[in-house]
C-alpha cells in the first residue's frame, strides 16, 4: 500500500478511536436503551467480517481452506483457548491443507 494511503488509514482510524474514547469520558450516563442497542453491533459486525472473508472476489461464498481454518478456530475458542492460539491454529490448518493438497 502506498505511503499516503497508509497514513490516511492510520489517521482516520486513530482520530475516530480517539473521539470515541474521549466522548465516552465526557458524556453523562447514556440511557440503557441505547447501550443495549449498541451491544448488538460488535457480534453482528464480527460475524459479517467472517462471512465476507469467506467470499470470493465476486462476493459469493467461496469454499476453500479458510473454512476448515475457521472451524478449527471456533472449536478452540469454544474450549476457551486464548485468542492468539485460535489465530495461529487457523493459519496452520490453512497452510498445511494448502501444502498437502496443493490447493
Amino acid at each position: 500500500m502506498a505511503g499516503p494511503l497508509a497514513l490516511g488509514l492510520v489517521l482516520g482510524l486513530a482520530s475516530l478511536s480517539f473521539l470515541m474514547r474521549a466522548t465516552g469520558s465526557m458524556l453523562p450516563n447514556l440511557p440503557a436503551a441505547i447501550t443495549t442497542r449498541t451491544s448488538g453491533l460488535a457480534p453482528a459486525l464480527l460475524a459479517a467480517l467472517v462471512a465476507i472473508q469467506l467470499t470470493g472476489s465476486n462476493g459469493v461464498l467461496h469454499l476453500d481452506v479458510k473454512v476448515p481454518a475457521v472451524i478449527a478456530a471456533a472449536l478452540l475458542a469454544a474450549l476457551r483457548a486464548p485468542f492468539i492460539v485460535c489465530v495461529i491454529a487457523g493459519a496452520i490448518v490453512a497452510g498445511l491443507l494448502r501444502a498437502v493438497f496443493h490447493l
Binding site: L13, G24, S25, G40, L41, A42, A51, A89
Partner: protein, 219 residues
C-alpha cells in the same frame, strides 16, 4: 472504597494479560506487513489506535482487497464500545474533562476488565485502569514493532496460511460474545445481511448492512 492496590499488585495481575497482548502485537505486525502496509504505518497504527480487534478488522478488510474507507469504517464501528467504557470509567479518573478524555485513551477491553474487577460495583478502579493500560500500551506497541520487523523474514504469507488468520481471528473475537439469544440473533442477522449484499454492492456496504441489522436485532 476498595483497598489501595500497590503498583506492584496491579502489575502482577496485569502480567499474564500483557504477555498475551505482546504476542497478539507480534502477530498483528506480521500480518500487517504481509498485507503490504508499510512497517512505519503498522507501528503508528498500534501507537495511535491501541485497539487490537479494531486494528485487526481494518487490516482484514485491507488484506481482502477492500478500500481504506471500508477498513476505517469496520475498525471504528468495533471501537464504538469504547464510548460505553469511557462513560463507565470517567468518574474514576482524576482531573478535569480534558485530562480525563486523554487518560480514557488507556481503556481497552483488558484494562477495563481489570479495573472493573478491582473497583466497587459501578465504579471501576481508576489507578488499575491507568497502570495496567500503560503497561498494555507498551507491550502492544513493542510487540507490533517486533512483528513488523519479523514479517518480511517469514516468507510467502499465503503459504503460511496467514490469509486464514483473519477469519480465524474474527471468529475467536466473536465467540466470547455469544452469550444470550440476542447476540446469537445479531450474529445470524449479520451473516445473512453481509452475504445477501456482498455479490451486488461495493465492499463496505455489506458491513454497514450487518451493523444496521445488529442495532435493530439487539433488543
Amino acid at each position: 472504597m476498595p483497598g489501595h492496590r500497590s503498583v506492584r499488585e496491579i502489575l502482577l495481575a496485569a502480567a499474564p494479560i500483557a504477555t498475551a497482548i505482546f504476542v497478539f502485537g507480534i502477530s498483528f505486525g506480521v500480518l500487517a506487513v504481509a498485507a503490504r502496509l508499510p512497517a512505519w504505518s503498522v507501528v503508528l497504527l498500534s501507537g495511535l489506535v491501541f485497539a487490537g480487534s479494531a486494528q485487526f478488522a481494518a487490516l482484514g478488510v485491507i488484506a481482502a482487497g477492500g478500500s481504506v474507507l471500508t477498513a476505517i469504517f469496520a475498525g471504528a464501528l468495533l471501537n464504538l464500545r469504547f464510548v460505553a467504557t469511557g462513560i463507565a470509567v470517567a468518574p474514576s479518573l482524576p482531573g478535569g474533562r480534558l485530562l480525563r478524555a486523554i487518560l480514557a485513551q488507556l481503556s481497552i477491553d483488558e484494562s477495563y476488565a481489570l479495573s472493573a474487577r478491582a473497583g466497587a460495583p459501578g465504579r471501576p478502579d481508576g489507578r488499575t485502569l491507568l497502570i495496567s493500560g500503560a503497561c498494555f500500551y507498551a507491550v502492544w506497541v513493542v510487540g507490533t514493532m517486533l512483528g513488523a520487523l519479523l514479517g518480511p523474514v517469514l516468507g510467502d504469507p499465503k503459504r503460511l496460511g496467514l490469509d486464514a488468520a483473519f477469519p480465524a481471528g474474527f471468529i475467536a473475537l466473536l465467540w466470547p460474545m455469544l452469550s444470550g439469544r440476542h447476540a446469537v440473533r445479531c450474529v445470524i442477522g449479520g451473516v445473512l445481511a453481509a452475504l445477501a449484499l456482498a455479490p451486488f454492492t461495493p465492499p463496505g456496504v455489506p458491513l454497514a448492512g450487518a451493523a444496521v441489522i445488529g442495532l435493530w436485532l439487539a433488543r
